[in-house]
Symmetry: D2
Subunit: 172 residues, 4 copies
């Protein structure tokens, strides 16, 4: 495995590609339902005082169980269209491994890290800011490729699954 | 710069050495004052569902402006005594660069990453969980050495300062 | 309108009858859905250091749109069975006026105040603790009868509706 | 004790007189200290969707241990100058009973309720929104006079003390 020189890259611009998922869920009283709102990642990066440029592309606002092949193609297009070399993809957890597998081998010299949350960013007890921080570091420190950052771990695309009963990701 | 193979290391045990700082501040009504409480990092790792062993050594509970040479020696001793190869040091921000400089070159084959927070972990708007996530990833992905992880960036020990007026860390 | 002597009554035991609603919503990752969890009101009273006995009866855990006539009969039974003279009913907002109208005139010498939330208690930005505080005061200070406490106001049962588009309660 | 007709008064305009205290404490990283910031009460009322006019006078931003006789005179002046008949005073807890005693008998036909918090409004676990909700209800439902609303209870001015060791208010 190849790594990038970290000292220069953590200051490099970061591209965020947002697709929805639990991370971005709001509660809409008028619907008595939770739906995906504005991407939460940029705000979390700002709150942490992240001292590098951040660009954002919102692809969709979906539960990942609802993502179609067309959505995945649009995610890939968005990643390739962003000028940054490191890309953070926020994504629902249920099919995150599917999307990572789809992207694998297609993102050239970019380092692409997918992350999400088990609890929405707007809840008092949430894994969202930790995960965004963990994944942001991974985009800077890992070699080009596609990865999932969840549960304080890095998984390679194609070698990971979500264990829904246990509520965590594991090597597949 | 040398990196470790990430896929195995993010599942490796993580040692936390806690020293106090803003990250750990509580409000004590009986004193009408904020003081450092229990180390917040282990709870933040747990809340994020970090799926690797976490060990903790509490060295002190101080504002970093109050840290003495003896405290820094104790921090080094604690790092060396911990069995893990990757160590997260939670520390007040004001003298974090001083401690990093002190530790530099003395921690053998361990990867040591210092982090902290500008706002206490117990506040609603805090950079603490992002920073702990970012730093945890760095402990797994960086080569042995001493680093500071703040503002979504990695700084090498000896080449970083806190810009107090701007409220951020920068290359020195 | 008749009021109770406040100085003695705010220390009096408070009965909580919980029925679910947005106030109590949790996010269940395994279902990718929000459902009602444990009643939040007792925890909110405890966090506020409420210095009087609190008793709780959980009747159901439902969105208020799903409440049936049987549920409303069970709510009334629970209110009458509780030993306290002041009762806080936590309830979804959509049919809160319906339940208040159903209870009106049936609760004897008890002061019954219904409240809920537009945003779940577990979210970072929520009206839940304010509403519970407001309603708790109302249970102590209002004469026997049935009331709704929402939007920082008191409404009498039978004279209130929820304006769903505006997201607030108003006199009907 | 005399009470006001509640149904009309909870929609009446509410005046807030802010003096600082734990409720309003922020953490200033540049000082490594907590100090009082903007009054938190108006934001808490807004977040709760309080559906009545709210006016605010900021008198000072002090720990209540630092309040002088001049400050208390200024608090009284601010209360009398506000056009609303119901006034919420946010105040540090340590000398809240002193200020309540000072105000007693001087506020004419206004209902004046002092409240505060044991933990700052900006902390994740805080009694602030509950207390503001409780006190707001009390300003509408109690007869003219001066009261303290803390710990889910109402205390009359002149008959209350803070038990600092126990961290709660009690009848004196």
């Amino acid at each position: 495995m190849r790594f990038r020189p970290a000292m220069q890259d953590t200051a490099a611009p970061l591209g965020v590609v947002a697709t929805g998922g639990t991370l971005d869920k709001l509660y809409f009283d008028a619907l008595s339902a939770f739906s995906c709102g504005e991407p939460a990642a940029p705000e979390l990066l700002k709150k942490a005082g992240a001292d590098h440029p951040v660009g954002v592309t919102g692809v969709c606002r979906k539960d990942s169980l609802e993502l179609t092949d067309d959505d995945r193609a649009a995610i890939l297009t968005a990643i390739l269209a962003r000028p940054e070399r490191r890309i953070l993809v926020t994504h629902g957890t249920d099919t995150m491994p599917v999307t990572a597998g789809f992207l694998k081998g297609k993102t050239g010299d970019k380092t692409v890290v997918l992350t999400g949350a088990m609890q929405p960013a707007l809840m008092r007890e949430t894994d969202a800011p930790f995960n965004i921080g963990f994944a942001a570091a991974a985009t800077a420190l890992l070699a080009p490729g596609v990865y999932i950052a969840m549960n304080g771990r890095i998984f390679e695309a194609g070698k990971v699954r979500k264990n829904r009963d246990a509520g965590r990701f594991e090597v597949a």
